[in-house]
Structure formats: structure tokens, C-alpha cells
Amino acid sequence: MNNQKPKITIPETFMGVPIKGAMERVLSKAKNQPDTTPIQTNAPDIQGMIYVPSAKLYFAKQRTHLNLNWDQTHETLAQEKLRMPTIEEFRKTLNYLKNSQNQEHLELYNEITEIRNPWRANWLDAYFEERKDGFYILTANKKKAEKLENCLMKNKTPGISLEQWISSTNITSQGLPSPNIDDGDLGYWYPKNNQVAGFVAASDRAFLDCYRSPSYRDSGLGVFAVADAGSNAR
């Protein structure tokens, strides 16, 4: 068997661009020009948050940290003494916002769930992992592992009942729909190994997605940061 590695010769140009000096050009461009990617790393201050009594946390009024992947979002939030909401916290918050008499809260609910353009997506703190002894849900940026409770383990399109999911009917304590949840309009992708959760709303549907690649990033994808009540978040 031939185990020799093939010879790779680095060319002098790539698609007409000279290799020599390319590093300097790229690095100086990145340094001198303002970053046009819509990354927002300034976390909202505690005044920019809504207190959700049922979840005992503050929930950001704005989606931030756009265009970061799941791990980067966790890292950046931690630096700002904030964190990503779990599925259950997110669900409880939606329930609180929907039933609020406050116009701002209702607008925020619509911002998250309304079926319209543009595409909006939010990371949730849930990483799914298949282990020898079963399927696990990892939260707190994968630091806390719990066995996944008996939840709906098949995709539902058009979906499950948003009403039931939000109002704690036929759901697990981890915030996932139970197998007996009613049909409805909220799309649902069931948990897959090494994938994470997110909540997405777009022009044709909204969905709870437990089959998202943690490495994905997009300018429409961010997070509604949360801070625990009593925390010293900005």
C-alpha cells in the first residue's frame, strides 16, 4: 500500500490573486474597515429586560448577538454575565408575554412567534447527546446533563399545538412536547444527537427546532439573553 502523502505545491496566485502579501491585505482590511457583519455583542442592560416571575429571570427585550454560532453565543453571554434561556424558560416567557396586558410584551411575543418575513431565529440552551444509557439533554452550556424525558420523538409538520406548548399542556418538565400533544401550527423537529435547540419564525411557519447545528450562524439568528433574578448583569 502506498501511504505517501501527495505532494501539494502552493501556487503563486489563486484565481489571479497573488499569494505574496495577501495576509497583510486581508488583515489590514479587517483592521481598518468597520465590520459590516451584523454582529451585536453589546448585551442589553438590566433595564432592557423584562422580569418573568414564573421563570424567575430577566428576559431581554431584544434579540442580540446575531451571526454567532451556538458556542460563541454562550461564550459571549458568559463574558457579559448573561446566559441563554433553556427551552423551558423560553416557553414560560412566551406564556408570560402572551398573557400580559402590556403592549410592549405583546409586541415582543409577536416578534418571536409571528409568521412573517424576515426570518428570525433564537438559540436555546439545550444540547442533545446520545449516550450508552440513553438520550440526554445538556443545559448550562453543556455543564448540566439530564436524561431526556419521554418527549415527542418525531418531526411534526405542520406541527404541534402552540397553545398547548405555551400553556404547559402535554409537555415535559424540560419544556419539550409530550408524544400526546395536539396537532397544530408550530413546526417541531425532534432532538437529534449532537444537535442543539432553537426557536425560529419565518414567512410560512414558526417552529421549535431541536435539530440545529451548533456551528451554524446567520445574520437573522441570535439570542434573547436572560439574567437570573438577583444577578449583577449590566
Binding site: 502523502k5 489563486f14 423537529w189
Partner: protein, 393 residues
Amino acid sequence: MNKVYKNSTAIGNLGGTPLYMADLVDACLYGRLNLFLQGDTGSGKTQLARDTMGYFPEKSMFILGRNDMDTRELFQQINLEKLRTAKSSEELKEVTSKIDNHLIVVDELPNCVPAVRAQLFNLFDGYIEINGVAYPIGNGYSLGIATGNVGQKFTESSNELGRALRDRMHVIVDVDYFHPKPSDTLEILAGNTNPRVEFNFQEQASQNIISRHKKIASSQIPFEKLIIANYFIHGLDYCSKDSKRAMKDAWPTQLEDHEQGSDVGLVLPVSTRAAKSIVRLSQAFDEIVKEKNGKSDCFESMMQAYKLVSTYSGVLNEADVQNKYEGNHYKAMDAVITTTRNQFENQKENISAGLEMASKGKKDQKILNQFTGRWSFIRDTLEYILNNSKEKK
């Protein structure tokens, strides 16, 4: 060679040099790539295959697909000298000189039952199995050209023939999309009104083809082509669900909405085997353009090769082809190529910087950070080059 098949409709253009159907056939010969010619009855596909046999007058074989065929019979004969000594009828048989054939043409291949097709595909793989022994065909150079008319959806995954074709034919082309011009048909009609397919054995050109094949096979692949091929394998695999390949049947329905409107939802990545075919065909195109005194361009030659290898290889989202591209597979592939071109235009400076970093042998995280999303594979490529250079030191 005086060819009977005439078609001046260009299938592509490289740096101002047009490429025709005959050039594609020549490129497949240079690259030693099996070719399937799909087309309606009377479209000239059989004539094109016959013309190609003219390159190998004594070393080509024409087989008309039929269900009761045993391909082993084509390569065996009875040795009468062994009549007295042989202990069984099998010992009487020996492999004939047909084993030296370089080109095997199978006309109307889809007419054969799957068992026969499987035997024919083995011939295309370059060997014949007789009594448990695999005999190589063509002394190191052989390929197959097959023709057939199996309709528009001939490469759908649900179709047994489609799967087999995708597995064994490196290039699948629908000749109906590149119909001869009126001037071509006028020339054909004025020259000869014989409606039958003509054999056209000309001077032996086989050595020229084989030597060009050896040259292409042994030449170093330009680095730019390796990066482009890796983009087809890995870059086109990237999606919100991590990997289109891993999504299997969930692709493209479970993609995000905005992905479904882009090339992410339109095309799957190519297999490593298909990527090899793309690189090989591209190298052959470059050789043909050089013969025509033209100047080829690495990127464009790879795009032409990608189009001809992949359009019918099952990578396109059939529903999108039907709904958004009027059922025209080549049009859908042109859209993918346009996006690919834009992607590379936007990244070429970064890739150049990455290559400079690799040539200096020192990792620079800021440079590596330029490669995200579908370009993440470049990080791995650069790190491979860095590690390789360290090992050599």
C-alpha cells in the same frame, strides 16, 4: 478523423474556445471516463458513439443491449488444441484477444434487464470476471460509452437504473439539450441520406489518445482545482443542520426557509468519486483547449466539468428543477455555478491569505477565522498543509 456526427452547438466555452459534443467525447477518452449519452431516438447518440469507435478500429467493441446476453461469451473461445487433454468443458475455454479492447460501446443499455446491465457495468469498470478470475480489459486503458433513451427523470434515486448509472458512468449527458444546428443537419443530409448508423473506421488514433490519457493521469493537479473540488465535496455540504449528507431524506424539506431558496436547498455535495471525475474531465478539457491553441482557465474548466459530471448525477433537488427552472437541469446547474463563482470571488483574497500563511508555516488565528460556514473546510485544508510542512521539516 472524418466524423459522421456533426454538432456545432457549443456545450461550453473555455477562455473563448468553444467546446462541442465531440470535444466532450474526446475529453472522456483522454480522461478515461465512462460516458452515458441520453437522448431521444434519432438524436445521433449512437452515431457519436460509433464515430468514437473509429479511434480504435481494431480495439473497440460494439454491443447492442439485449436481455439474453452473457458478456463472458464475448471474451471466451474454445481452444481446439485442448480438446484431448481438457478434463472439463471449462478448461477448453480461453480468453480471446477481445480482452485487449480499449473501448466498449453499449447501444440501448437501458433495454437490458438489471442482471445483464450489471455485467456490462463491470466491463465499464475495466474487467471481466470469468470462472472467478477477474481479467483486466484493454491493457490498462479501457472505458465504456453507453447510449439510451430513458426519459427526463432517468437519474432519480428511486429508479434502479438511475442508481446504477450514477454509480458507474462518470459523465452523463443529455444530448437533446445540445441539439445540432440547422447547418449541421444540412451538412449531414447533403453528404449522405443513409438513415442507418454508419461505421467510420479511420486511421488509428488510439496511441495518441492513450498517450494523452497517460499525460493527464500523471500530471500534477493545480492546487486551485483541488480547492474547488473540495468545495464541491464539503462546501456544498454545509447547512443549518450541519451536513446535507447526514440529513439524508430530510434534505431539503427540513432546511430553513431562506436556505430552501438558495443553492443550499438546490444542490447536494458531490461524492469523492464524482469530484475525481470532475478534476479528471477538467484536466482533459484543458488539454483539448490547448490542442485548439486556446488558453484554459482553471476555475472555468472546473465549472464546465462540474456541470457535465453532476447535472444528472442525482445532486439536484428535482422539485426545484421542475418548479423553478422549467424542468431544465442544466439551467438549475448554471444557477449553482453562478453562486459558486460569486462565493469564490468573495473568498479568493482570503484563500490567498490562507495559502500565504501555510507557505510561511505558521498558524494565524485571524486568518483562519476568515473561513466560516461553507468555507470552514478551508481551515482544515490549511492546517493539513501546515502539518505536512512540519512533518517534512
